[in-house]
Symmetry: C2
């Protein structure tokens, strides 16, 4: 399938989509950025066949449009591109929160083009197109979040698109998605940042003695604060519930400091579950 | 300096010491294991000049002896080797908890040979000699924990030993050590295991949707439960205090889910501190 793909926002994810699509043999990739210097850098790197700051030019003739901007900016951009889309275009996004985002974007695109939410579970604490790579999505889960109005063929096209980039596709409703990533993505971020700030509050000199365990456990705390503030606060209900459950479990493990046998059972359960996770590039 | 180094216990750390010492040009490395099959494997891998199950044979003529066994086993082995040591030998260990271990081992070796505690902040969730490598200690912090009875030249010799293996040496008292690693090593382990068990309790299906952030944040939970039970429970006072401080900070960040500006400040502080950490192999 030789299509035109339009990528709105050339950050880590958007640029990696361009590189992965190019690797897959896509002939035509159009990229939008609002910043002239980024446009110039992408042109010099020869990422994309067309890089421009006019949304209408970038989405013109596109078969697939991917919104790769912070979730707070998506509705405004969606309204701007909607009049310029091919009627058979498929629009998706890469936002980390789905229920409110999908509701708002679906309403904007309804009666015009097909929209379906996506969330590739890929990324890094690094951001920007410099950090992008063609293999960012290889073997990563991409969660696609159809709602009641999604046509089956839109789901099939979105699935084929993410598989083409290297992803393993999973399907969840937008609400299920937000609960699940509240646990396995947003809670880890909240813990990493909180661990760093706990050490800072208790004994900042202790940072100087950290080993590889601390590095791994806090890696994601290096991610962009503005983006993560938006994610955590938009998904606050699920995040709060995950964090409360974590506090409850922490109270449990604190009591096990006096009960070695049960502590060993607790750590053994965690190890068994951790060992069963699909291995990823970060494990090495 | 061409010395004999005796390594008591060829796990990940003990075997990596042997490999790093060999890389540094040490001519004579003796290794003790209680298990015949491990002895055979090490001999086949040609790790060490002498691999044996008789403690007296392994420590005979050793200038430096390193206890690389779980902290609960150290006192028994210390008592067994003490009568066989050269009077000018330096004994150290790699235990992750120092105050109680140093007190007990110092009492055993006093009047016989010099003892000083060490804790290389290196390792992995993997264990066993298969996972060992000559560069495990490169640029890692090794905390050396002298007490009131430590002679300056013992501290100098221990420092030179760990620097020879690649470490950056730092000095703390045994009690300071336990507080510091309670924050930057034991608390992260406790959080990683608790995060895994929280997801299991809330929604085990969510594991299937994890991305690289969850992998990093929980990596250390794959470590050996028996060893970590011993560490956490032996250092229970510092670990409990760190975990209580973490819970307090978690309560703070939960309230920030409704206050985006302050949440952004919280995440920005964490990112700034995280970015300033010495970069380690795990960061890439």
């Amino acid at each position: 399938m030789s299509q035109r793909i339009a990528i709105i926002g050339p950050g880590l994810l958007g640029t990696s989509i361009a590189l992965a699509a190019r690797r897959a043999g896509k002939l035509s990739i159009a990229i939008w950025s609002r910043r002239k210097e980024i446009i110039e850098e992408l042109r010099q790197r020869r990422v994309g066949d067309l890089v421009a700051e006019e949304l209408s030019v970038v989405v013109d003739k596109a078969n697939v449009v991917v919104l790769c901007v912070p979730i707070g900016v998506m509705p405004k951009l969606a309204r701007e591109i909607a009049p310029h889309l091919r009627p058979d275009a498929l629009v998706t996004d890469v936002g980390s929160v789905k229920a409110p985002v999908v509701a708002e974007l679906s309403a904007i695109f309804r009666q015009r083009v097909r929209f379906i939410g996506s969330h590739p579970m890929a990324g890094s604490e690094k951001n920007g197109h410099d950090a992008a790579s063609a293999d960012l999505f290889d073997d990563r889960v991409c969660i696609i979040t159809p709602d009641d109005t999604t046509a089956p063929e839109a789901l099939n096209e979105a699935t084929a698109f993410w598989q083409m980039l290297g992803c393993q596709v999973r399907i969840l409703s937008p609400t299920e998605h937000d609960e699940v990533v509240g646990l396995v993505s947003h809670l880890p971020h909240l813990l990493a940042a909180t661990l760093v700030n706990t050490v800072a509050a208790q004994n900042p000199a202790a940072f100087d003695f950290h080993g590889p365990g601390f590095s791994s456990t806090t890696r994601v705390a290096g991610g962009p604060p503005v983006m993560w503030t938006e994610i955590l606060c938009t998904n606050r209900t699920a995040v709060r519930s995950s964090a409360e459950a974590m506090i409850e479990k922490l109270r449990e493990i604190i009591t096990l400091l006096d009960r070695e046998t049960t502590m060993n059972d607790f750590l053994t359960q965690a190890k068994d579950l951790r060992d069963r996770l699909r291995s990823t590039k970060e494990d090495v």
